[in-house]
Symmetry: C2
Subunit: 314 residues, 2 copies
């Protein structure tokens, strides 16, 4: 597959529709007042497996040939992608192998295991994760499904923005958090295809500003997996996501840890919805006044809701 | 006003429509599986001021004559009704006097004050609350608006169930928590008026089972304001709500503190929405298997979402 076209996005949407929720778009007058703008939140925290990741995982899994599918799928992930791939594999009734660091939270291990995937534990380093995953693939013939650096995953991720733009017209801006770049690049492809006048803005933690620095440098800056509260955004950009971001994303904003936590808490308090820290990053930029968007109609992709309720950041 | 008729409920709905949200009805396949039933959650946690209370308060405030309104409204409340009445008064641009115990949480005081109401602090006893309120009314001529024992408040509360039944047909059961009885009696009037085959079931904490005992005794059992985690459900039934409950409510179930906390947490984890402990009480009865409702279509009124995020019960 090459870079997803408008048609690829529509096909992805049709392919995954039987398996994913068409999530709500919520608004909140108090947050509108605080930001002096009109905000539309696409609530992927309500999505199956608790995040948008099922969109990309399902699109990848259901794009495999029967022969490929028969050998299963594999990935390394300590977060939402692992659970999403496990669930997508369960839906197609094929095997999933998920490499996880041995110190991953119990709740994340349970989520992956509950969907019937086989977990392979490894040391908590990125090298160990990659090596374990390569070993599994050699042994089983499973297809590797990256959390973000895969065109099917990118197209699947873009279907959330597709639905947002279909539901809410005339958006001036669509914002999404940036980690490995799967969500923002899928969002960028979708929005530029069906609403070309809408600006696409990515936001990331200052502590993990790899997209900001990569765009400035004109090449991918590797991540040192910093300890940001937005634990879904520690990855570096991928070779497939970076060029899409270079082409379509107008700007990358960065926010502090405190700004992320405040935005997360405001969302819980005011919207009464549970979002994880990574999902609070775009609102954090608006609340902190990082950008002048007064009076604008702004779509925000809420990427997920898998917060650890026993360990809140405030 | 006498006991609200179907027509009174429709009028209440029209009266408050410009001021309240028509809240979402959400479903959750995991909770359906856990309860072996089909659940429809009417999300008044997304309502303005964070609870259904604005429906009753707005109906009461906008039913006043201009002359009455000119003297303002008064109530005593340490919870959602105080904030709702303050906001309703703000909407009509009239004065609100809210008597609160001096040890009320800061966040509750702030909510009432932010809507522009005048707060009158008193000792934290029910006697002191009532006396302070009587004093305010004597001094100002304000109209007392009870949190639950008022037909306009009851009719307003019933509009949530009206919307639920309009949106979701063929419900076998509608469930709501029971405190002073405003929500359950409004719900009962609405459901019996437009969906007479639907059973109405109330649920309350075992620690505050005043409705259960009152129904059994055939008279109102006074509350000793027990320290249940469901802090919205400590009140005794009112003289107006009790007869409605006697007539229309099929059954009152009771649940333990642990069952309430578990149901609250499951809702946060699985539905990714924030509900307060009082709102978790009906789901607690289903999860604990208090009643055999397998295969049924069950509507649940989620009464509010004003949980204290700095002080969770787990």
């Amino acid at each position: 597959m090459s870079e997803p076209t408008k048609n690829d996005l529509k096909e992805a949407s049709e392919r995954i529709n039987p398996f994913v929720h068409r999530t709500s778009v919520l608004t909140c007058s108090t947050l509108n007042q605080m930001c002096e703008a009109e905000l539309f939140f696409k609530c992927e925290n309500f999505q199956r497996t608790g995040s948008f990741k099922i969109r990309g995982a399902a699109n990848a899994v259901f794009s495999l040939s029967d022969e490929e599918a028969g050998r299963g799928v594999a990935t390394h992930s300590s977060g939402n992608h692992g659970a999403a791939l496990a669930f997508a594999a369960h839906l197609r009734r094929i095997k999933a192998y998920v490499v996880m660091p041995e110190n991953a939270p119990e709740v994340k291990k349970d989520a992956v295991a509950n969907y019937g995937a086989q977990i392979i534990f490894c040391k908590p380093t990125i090298e160990a994760r990659k090596n374990s995953c390569t070993g599994v693939i050699k042994r089983t013939g499973a297809t590797f499904i990256s959390s973000h650096n895969d065109y099917h995953v990118i197209a699947g991720a873009g279907t959330a923005a597709l639905e947002l733009c279909e539901k809410v017209g005339d958006l001036d801006v669509v914002m999404a958090p940036v980690g490995g770049g799967g969500l923002i690049s899928g969002t960028a492809l979708a929005v530029s295809a069906i609403s070309p006048k809408t600006d696409i803005i990515g936001v990331e933690p200052k502590k993990a500003d790899f997209a900001f620095r990569s765009l400035k440098a004109g090449k991918i800056i590797p991540s040192d997996y910093p300890d940001t509260v937005a634990d879904g955004l520690r990855m570096p950009l991928g070779s497939l996501t970076f060029p899409i971001i270079q082409r379509y994303v107008k700007e990358i904003l960065t926010v502090s840890e405190g700004e992320i936590i405040t935005a997360m808490r405001r969302t819980w308090e005011r919207m009464k919805i549970i979002i994880e820290a990574s999902s609070a990053v775009p609102l954090a930029a608006l609340l902190a006044g990082c950008i002048a968007l007064a009076g604008k109609r702004i779509g925000i992709i809420i990427s997920g809701g898998n917060a650890d309720l026993a360990n809140l950041p405030w």
